[in-house]
Assembly symmetry: C2
Homo-oligomer: 222 residues x 2
């Protein structure tokens, strides 16, 4: 659970991921993911998921803005600037088109009643934004890496409907793969500068995000 429990020298993106392999697999092979890839996902489940997810896309974009602000190098700022551009354009229009197709009511697009899991997402993103660069990376890295992993596993055969296919394609492409690899490098550089207390906080945030990804998929069926 804590950074101290990791062998010296292994406090890295790869080591943290390996440490949470079971929770990682639970998220990346979740029923939601499988049904999305098969194109058999119930519209009611997808609608709830998208409405809740969109309710924190703005907060996620804000956190990416803070990552640009706190990144110590121009390369780090560029990495997150590119992601912010996608998040606020292609990904944003995907949600809007799905909301139209799935007949999502105006109030659910703008200000839905939040699931407890969504409230935890919001809290985790906001708390990370109050910390330093490593704190921000500790939640962005697992969130995006888990999406890269499950989407990549589905990308060979996309389902026919755009609501399913585009959500996979947005997270399974060379640009997104490079982005996640870049965030992992930034993470490794940033955590090398942390003391033990900061490392524990980063490890705890990372774990909380991995667990939350699977819990969020669960909630879509609740």
């Amino acid at each position: 659970m804590t950074a101290e429990a990791l062998p010296a020298g292994s406090f890295s993106a790869a080591a943290l991921r390996a440490r949470h392999e079971d929770a990682w697999r639970r998220a990346t092979t979740h029923r939601f993911v499988r049904e999305l890839g098969q194109g058999t996902l119930d519209d009611r489940v997808l609608r709830g998921y998208l409405v809740q997810d969109y309710a924190f896309v703005g907060t996620l974009a804000s956190l990416v803005g803070l990552a640009i602000a706190r990144a110590p190098t121009m390369a780090g700022k560029r990495l997150f600037a590119g992601f912010a551009a996608i998040l606020t354009s292609d990904e944003n229009t995907y949600f809007q088109r799905c909301f139209d197709t799935l007949s999502v009511a105006p109030e659910d697009r703008a200000d839905p009643a939040l699931w407890p899991e969504s409230q935890r997402f919001l809290a985790l993103l906001r708390e990370a934004g109050e910390g330093g660069y490593a704190d921000i990376l500790s939640v962005l890295l697992p969130a995006e890496w888990i999406y890269l992993d499950w989407a990549t596993a589905l990308a060979d055969r996309l389902p026919p409907r755009f609501e399913h296919a585009e959500w996979i394609a947005l997270h399974a492409n060379p640009g997104f793969r490079d982005f996640v690899a870049g965030v992992a490098r930034e993470f490794d550089d940033a955590v090398a500068l942390l003391d033990a207390i900061q490392r524990r906080r980063v490890a705890d945030r990372f774990e909380a995000m991995v667990l939350l990804e699977a819990a969020f998929f669960d909630a879509a069926y609740g």
Copy 2:
């Protein structure tokens, strides 16, 4: 000098610009700008200008990241995400290629001795980043709008060398024009929510930035 001195209802991007018309014209028709457009700018002058300017591009990119974080709408976040992407990619490589062509020493690329005007730029950008969204906009808007204005006036006939032509083209294109128009709209929306003290601060920052743009061009000949 102060927001209070502006007629009621006229605290807007257009009104603030009109209020500083003389200083605005001094910046947008500066000898530096004219010689850049004619392609007759002394390499020593250009080198000094670019080295100093690059010394705060990272801080500018950080401020744009904070604008993404503080923008209240997805449209505002998208506006600044697109600008952050250009600032950290196309504009960044322009500097690097100029540094190569103009034989700028490694230490001047990474950590140059700063002019007083550059130190004032840095201070103005950092102070704005500690404020709210309107504070950030109050420095980004005049800085980018002045560049749009002088570059647009030169864009019909670009000089032959890329060091001159590309610096003009980066600030005279439909995307950049839309960006500045978008920042002006965000500014008008944001200042509508301010009280008198906040408006005075925003007006003072705006004025300081307009004056600094001309002073910075002056310094390039110092």
